[in-house]
Symmetry: C2
Subunit: 317 residues, 2 copies
């Protein structure tokens, strides 16, 4: 089987049908007709086997996750995803693996209205890279900077499940709910594409809330105080871990792909209504303030937490 057959079999006709894709997979590039008078958002993320996902991950999860982590970035920018390109480096042509990978990618793409428009398949170690382009009305985009003192800090969903799931996969002793949360993250696309007018800043939680909220605060040149009791934890996480361990997973675990947003006080009601209309649980966890840095309280008192998140290079240096 040649690379051309491979592309034809597994990667043509993947995802939603979009009229703005004039030429998709199969030429030197894709030809696209972008919406008039909108800005574009461009994101790219890579997953490396044994670094970002364990070798035991099902192919369907790898296909789903590599798209989902990119859609999470698109959502954090307040944009609507449209077109995805995929670079797939695989050590050999395992048809079952490729069919499952393609199915996982397709499910996620179709759900979020994304079309696979091109990419590359190469022989190499298992590494997958996806680039996604989205669009956003001018001035409706959301950045990490822009949060102001007094803004309320919200997070979507529950935190820490994915990190607990990853730990469980490694040890082989975990709850399937947690493992599923790691394997099949649910990017908050529906909220992301509508939140632009209501939030002052946002970031997606990929490296752990502590670290990612830290980036938002740094970019916005503000600080924040987070109430540890307010961290949204799933029932499964709370009932399988001690409170301080669950909090640690929620703050530092990574791989959640939830959104963290700063919402001006005047927009809180509309923002919560928007989340309800997206059938999305959100939790207010703290407040932006003037003093730089990220502080925590527990039972009304200051509480120190070391919030180092994932850094796939920090151990090398």
């Amino acid at each position: 089987m040649s690379e051309f057959d491979l592309i034809r079999d597994y990667f043509s006709d993947v995802g939603a049908r979009r009229s703005d894709v004039l030429v998709g997979v199969g030429d030197d590039g894709a030809l696209l007709d972008p919406p008039e008078s909108q800005n574009l958002v461009s994101v790219m993320d890579t997953l490396v086997e044994s670094v970002h996902f364990p070798r035991t991950s099902p192919a369907r999860s790898v296909g789903h996750r590599v798209l989902a982590v990119n859609l999470s970035d698109i959502a954090a920018m307040g944009a609507t995803p449209a077109w995805a390109s995929l670079s797939l480096s695989v050590p050999h042509l395992d048809h079952d693996w490729l069919a499952d990978f393609s199915a996982g990618f397709s499910e996620c793409a179709e759900l979020h209205g994304v079309t696979l428009i091109g990419g590359d398949t190469v022989s190499g170690p298992l590494i997958v890279t996806v680039h996604v382009t989205g669009h956003v009305e001018r001035d409706n985009h959301v950045l990490r900077k822009g949060a102001k003192p007094g803004d309320q800090i919200y997070v979507t969903g529950t935190l820490g499940d994915a990190a607990a799931g990853l730990r469980a996969m490694t040890r082989g002793d975990g709850h399937s709910f947690l493992i599923e949360r790691f394997l099949y993250p649910n990017p908050r696309v529906a909220l992301g594409k509508r939140m632009g007018p209501l939030v002052s800043a946002a970031i997606d939680i990929s490296d752990g809330l502590g670290q990612d909220l830290g980036h938002l605060l740094h970019a916005s040149e503000v600080g924040a105080t987070v109430t540890l009791e307010k961290l949204p934890l799933s029932t499964v996480l709370s009932s399988n871990f001690k409170p301080e361990e669950a909090r640690y997973l929620a703050l530092c675990g990574g791989d959640d792909y939830e959104l963290c947003m700063a919402v001006p006080r005047g927009n809180v009601e509309d923002f919560e209504a928007l989340c309800s209309s997206c059938f999305l649980r959100v939790q207010r966890i703290g407040k932006i303030d003037r003093t730089s840095g990220l502080r925590f309280t527990l039972k009304g008192k200051a509480h120190a937490v070391n919030v180092q998140g994932h850094d796939h290079f920090s151990s090398d240096t």
Copy 2:
């Protein structure tokens, strides 16, 4: 050193300054202001160490090549490149290597007016992926399909040098001109972005002229006859290889990143004038005809050539 420091040091402020990049490297995604009323072209290519380039390749070459091979695809589509995203998987943080890689990427980006807008750096085997977005006036794009019987077939530059250079690198006995042609391909951006109104079809030559022209013919549902004496060969290639070996390298070698175009008879004069104005050597090598398949002539007689080009998967299956 964390991933964040790495990005800041080597990958912020890379390439041309473009006013259409509203937010570049450093947020969850880049924010872009596309030109009004144009189509976009999206390409993505990956290079794997020891598959697409030898371990002895200088870092500057890897940085240059991974962008150049994508710009070559943009050129083949008749588009003007604008924005690049880079995924860099490296096994460890070697500052000299990263500085040289970044320099090679930057040189190529600046030369062609491209800005690095984002991407990802991860710990893994040496694999680099680049995505480039370009723009093209509506209806000025070029595809593989569209060639018609009677169209003249042109190629830019000279063919076979890169394949000879790669062979020389492996054996350690080659001419530096040939090695440079492999290490630092020169994508035909200046011609690509202006050729749209004059050519009926095009493809870039990455896998060898025989194979790539074959794709163009297949997509256009036509055939072609190529005169082997007309293949443009560099003086260095001609003087270091026997004629049949030089021809084989030119037809099947790959890695040239020249353009192959079909030009309707009525446009030949304007097309050659355009190439002159780009200071670009082009050679007419044959003609599109009705009979499907790719045929060759030598000394006026039919001549059989097996034109299997690169296929980094064909050996596995």
